[in-house]
């Protein structure tokens, strides 16, 4: 089978043309056939993620959140679009930038915030933190902190689905920097060889920490790497929630029906630094301005108003509700208990074992 990569317009071009009104065409055609309630729902969820991440940044500066904290600010359209392409039973593996995914996959925002706070009510009972959220019910099979570590795992999960003859699909999210590590190539090769139902999604925000994609990838059009594995590769505007949803849904359903893996590249922009503590000084003013112009939440709001799906009052009401939910998540986290040190040895082994060391630092060995 020949490689069938197609290319859609990159993010900035699509956004600019949308602002000029040409994408919608006459009569709000861009939203033709879309349920207004669903569009409002997308707007609500994108806004909720925005507000949640703002509260996460605040919690970090207040030292209520420790460690690293990588936010989805600017990637809300990609997050929501991708998650709306999946069934609840489909499985998701992500990297360490996963708060928005956890919420959009169906986890209560309070539990996501509680994990950031390291509380027992968190998605990983406080053992994981920002980078390691997990929830079987929601189908989130983990955020992973090692760049690319999740790719072989996602491939293995798809192997298990194939082994048992299930109809679930695995989505494996990663950043642009990930596409240069060995595990990316090894896992895509195996997924294609064995016909595994996994959709690999590269969020190309064009920066791997502070290094631009063209300085780290010899082929910066990352979807083209699919060709090496006779896999379908496709690029989509990551600032367009509907475009992301539609492209992802096609690839997900293709994987479900044929078992063929695929590679989707969503071109996006990061509004802030790599993590909360990164001021992003490596970025040009032009790049920052471009990211602001491409803000998917603000642009979607303007579009929905222009198309008559929302009016200003309804938009404000939705934004208030999102803010209230983010605030409630913080309150839930604040009110949740810290793990008790007596539980320190609860999760070393799933099967109890003889002579397991349960020694605290000052305990004698004998």
């Amino acid at each position: 089978m020949a490689q069938t990569a197609t290319r859609t317009k990159p993010a900035t071009r699509a956004t600019k043309s949308r602002r000029s009104g040409s994408v919608r065409g006459s009569g709000g055609g861009r939203f033709a056939g879309e349920s207004p309630e669903l569009l409002k729902d997308y707007f609500y969820e994108m806004t909720l993620i925005r507000r949640f991440e703002e509260r996460a940044a605040q919690g970090y500066t207040q030292a209520k959140i420790g460690g690293y904290c990588h936010l989805n600010l600017g990637e809300e359209a990609t997050v929501v679009g991708l998650m709306r392409s999946l069934r609840k039973s489909d499985l998701l593996f992500t990297n360490y930038r996963e708060h928005g995914y956890a919420i959009a996959k169906g986890i209560e925002p309070g539990r996501v915030m509680a994990e950031l706070y390291g509380r027992t009510t968190g998605t990983s009972k406080g053992w994981g933190g920002s980078m390691h959220m997990f929830d079987v019910e929601a189908g989130l099979l983990g955020g992973y902190g090692i760049v690319g570590g999740q790719i072989p795992l996602a491939t293995g999960a798809a192997l298990a689905i194939d082994y048992r003859g299930g109809d679930q699909v695995v989505m494996c999210q990663m950043g642009d920097g990930t596409t240069n590590i060995g595990a990316f190539h090894e896992a895509l090769n195996i997924a294609a060889l064995w016909n595994l139902p996994v959709v690999f999604v590269v969020i190309n925000n064009q920066l791997g920490m502070g290094t631009t994609v063209d300085k780290s990838s010899a082929e910066p059009e990352l979807y083209k790497r699919a060709a090496a594995y006779r896999m379908h590769g496709e690029r989509v505007d990551g600032n367009d929630v509907l475009a992301v949803r539609d492209a992802a849904a096609r690839l997900v359903e293709q994987a479900r029906e044929t078992g063929r893996p695929a590679l989707l590249e969503a071109v996006s922009e990061r509004l802030k630094g790599h993590s909360v503590v990164d001021p992003g000084k490596y970025r040009s003013e032009e790049s920052v301005e471009q990211a602001k112009q491409a803000d998917p939440v603000a642009n979607f709001r303007a579009e929905l108003i222009e198309a008559g799906v929302l009016d200003e009052d309804v938009a404000v009401e939705i934004e208030r509700k999102a803010q209230a939910e983010a605030d409630a998540a913080v309150a839930f986290a604040d009110d949740s208990p810290h793990p008790d040190p007596s539980t320190l040895f609860h999760y070393t082994y799933a099967t109890p074992v003889a002579n397991d060391s349960r020694r605290l630092p000052a305990d004698p060995v004998f």
């Binding site: 090894e186 003889a354 004998f366």
Partner: protein, 332 residues
């Protein structure tokens, strides 16, 4: 009770477990069509098909990681890594992922997988193919590391490892595959984390694992027969968790100890055992604890050099003699 090889014990156990549990499958390099580099999996592809005996590309990080992911969903992959040396390529998936997934997600999913892999030198394979690097894995909480020395233990520990819900590094040794031993008709799974006293004795404790546990047993039996030295032998069997109790209890009885290990001396498994003896049997010691370990060089190819570098029955016997001489316990 049948006498079979270590290789046969592994093969039979894999087959029995695949027949018993549909979720058990094999994955690794050359395990199917080629029937395994050391023929442990001979005939299994023909019997179970490609779904359950899965040949992989030569890409350890990819297929070990895929096995971890499959295990997260409840399958029970048994991975064959052609040699422990290649496990280094999959180190991220083993140490950063397999070992951590149960803990860092608060116990919500575990990784019931087995990584079978041979280590050891003595086959003139040169520096990168002759390593005893089990220490790297024994260091990591979340992993279990077992190292059977006999066919019966190979069977009992492989049964336990496959049925265990955690990632288990199952250490084999190239020198053991053709060794023979008695295996009971019905073998129960061993208790992981328990050492075994394979010979009772009162004069000195010899502690080993994998190939050196077998050598220790042979040396102890010969010393008993030739010189009337009554050595006790402890086969560790499990490197993580480590059964310090059994080691310390034996040394409290005998008053001196020699540790036999195929890995390098500095920071090796023997260092941990020696520290445990210091912690638990200091007042009982009549002599310093001796360690017999590999010379600290990248293992050379040339036969005389390789032979000089590896611990053997002779070097272990010498260390036992010297220790017993020091405490005046050797009859001449």
């Amino acid at each position: 009770m049948a006498v079979i090889t270590y290789r046969q014990a592994l093969h039979d156990t894999l087959r029995d477990e695949m027949l018993r549990d549909e979720d058990v499958f094999l994955i690794g390099e050359e395990i199917g069509v080629f029937e395994g580099s050391y023929k442990i999996t001979a005939g299994l592809l023909k019997e179970f098909g490609e779904k359950r005996v899965r040949d992989t590309p030569i890409a350890e990080e990819g297929f070990v990681g895929a096995a971890v992911g499959a295990a997260m969903l409840g399958l029970r992959p048994v991975v064959e890594l052609m040699t422990i040396n290649f496990s280094l390529i999959a180190l991220d998936q083993i140490v950063n992922h397999a070992a951590k997934i149960y803990g860092m997600f608060g116990g919500q999913t575990s990784v019931p997988m087995v990584l079978r892999t041979p280590g050891g030198g003595g086959q003139q394979l040169g520096a990168t193919h002759s390593q005893n690097i089990e220490l790297y894995y024994a260091f990591v909480p979340g992993l279990k590391v077992v190292a059977p020395s006999t066919p019966a233990d190979a069977k009992a520990l492989l049964l336990a490892s496959i049925r265990d819900n955690d990632p288990v590094l199952f250490l084999e040794n190239l020198a053991l595959y053709n060794t023979k031993g008695e295996v009971p008709d019905v073998v129960e799974p061993a208790e992981i984390g328990k050492a075994k006293v394979t010979k009772q004795g009162t004069d000195i404790t010899i502690i080993g694992y994998s190939r050196m546990a077998m050598v220790a047993q042979q040396v102890a039996e010969k010393l008993q027969a030739d010189e009337g030295i009554n050595a006790e032998v402890v086969d560790l069997r499990s490197l993580r968790p480590l059964d310090r109790e059994t080691v310390v209890e034996s040394v409290r009885k005998t008053g001196c100890a020699v540790i036999a290990e195929d890995d390098w001396l500095t920071y090796g498994i023997g260092a941990e055992i020696a520290a445990s003896i210091s912690d638990g049997a200091f007042d009982y010691l009549d002599a310093p604890v001796r360690r017999v370990a590999a010379a600290e060089v990248p293992l050379p190819y040339a036969k005389p050099l390789e032979r000089a570098a590896l611990p053997s029955a002779e070097s272990l016997t010498t260390a036992v003699h010297q220790t017993l001489d020091a405490v005046g316990r050797r009859r001449r």
